[in-house]
Amino acid sequence: MANTIQKPAPIFPPRAAPLASLTVTMAVMCYLASLAIGALILINHAVDNWTHGLSREVTVQLRHISDVDPAVQLQQSMQVLSSTAGILKAEPLDRKASLSLLEPWLGKITGEDLPIPQLIRVTLDEAAPPDFVALEKALNTAAKGVSLDTHQRWETELTRAASLLSNLGCGVLALIILASVMLVIFAARAVLEANRQVVGVLELIGAKNSFIARLNDWQFLKTGILAGCVGAVVALLTFYALSATGDSFSQVGQALVFAPQGIQFINLAAFVAVPVVATLLAVVTSRLTLSHMLGQSR
């Protein structure tokens, strides 16, 4: 014994507090947090895709007017569109394509007598889009019954809905973090209660509160890392599993796990943040709780 340096035993017995239960419940919290993060990522990506598609195109609508020849109306509108800077392509939709757009609302339409407007799909140069006010004015001057739909209303609605969902996701994440903090506080109290006798001895031989509070850092560090890793990995596996189901959920999973490389890296970074945050939360909360309680007990 005299020749070898003895590694001192932990001052608090490692199994004296219910940290195994904390690890399991924290892992569940981390899993839920990872799911919420995945949902937030998907919402943001979906909104980006939708708004990108909507802002890249506008629609010109030609209503039926009794004294106007639809062919002339179309020709005049196409002339304006082709001569306007910032428009890459103008493509009139045939009647079949226009009817298919109405299908979600009106169902399958077979009659030929339904007066539906002629639509022109206009692809814009995103780097230098045209002045929409001037374009609409030019179209109205060239032909009667022509209007320009810039999809602004849809874009606003989508952005609003996405913002609502994002806020909801952030709220869920905040609740999960709050619940995790409460769990760690409860566990830290249990640790102190389980080691009350040892703490009493330490206080009487001159241990500072910071020394006693530090004694559990390693336990809470391990808890945070383990719970965070398990939660994040199981959540990723869930998204992989969803991507393989083949039903409507598969697209959700695929969008997340088989995203382009750059996006995938950001997605993974968000999941890696889960164990990091869980560990910080466990160590900092336990340290503050123990310091506070020890300060009260002196």
């Binding site: 014994m1 005299a2 340096i5 003895q6 590694k7 001192p8 035993a9 001052i11 017995p13 006798q197 040892v198 009493g200 001895v201 330490l202 206080e203 009487l204 031989i205 001159g206 241990a207 500072k208 509160n209 020394f211 300060g295 002196r298």
Partner: protein
Amino acid sequence: MIELNAVALRYGQGSDVLKDVSFKMEAGDFRFLTGASGAGKSTLLRLLFLALRPSRGQALIFGEDVSNISTRQLPLIRRKLGVVFQDFRLVGHLSVFDNVALPLRVAGQRPADYQRDVIDLLDWVGLKQKAKELPETLSGGEKQRVAIARAVVSKPEILLADEPTGNVDPAMAKRLLHLFLELNRLGTTVLLATHDEQLIAQTKGKVLRLQNGIVKDL
């Protein structure tokens, strides 16, 4: 070092356990604190190791008024005190070695720095062979010796001992008394609570006799 002036102490709303305690100990003094069971010896020691504060009067330790010591100062003052508790207060899951080394770990020393000192001390109290054992495997006398070793390992300026020879045989009691005297010779102020008159008779230490909550400095 220690100065008590008309100190009284009561627990909660009860009657005074200590009524009028006045005495003074200078650096290097050696005193016995004696009195009948229940006279308040342990209470007086608890007051001196800052677990209690006086209800009335003034108690000074290292020149600091006990009533005014802040929680921040408390650990630093306690590190200058060595205490042997009557109920030992050993940490059950730590070995004899780790129990004795505990004050040094608390003070920030590393195992390489204190290992030699702890082993030497265990050798002196006759427990070197039991260094790796847990307290539950020790006899009452052995636990007492571990508690004493823990109290003196950090070479405290004041040593307070509550019945330190209560659980050991006369030979070991004599040996432990010599340890206390040796520490006192090296400069440690020692206050030893005991009702063992034979032990008191073996030294020339002064006696503080606690009777009816009053200390008469003999």
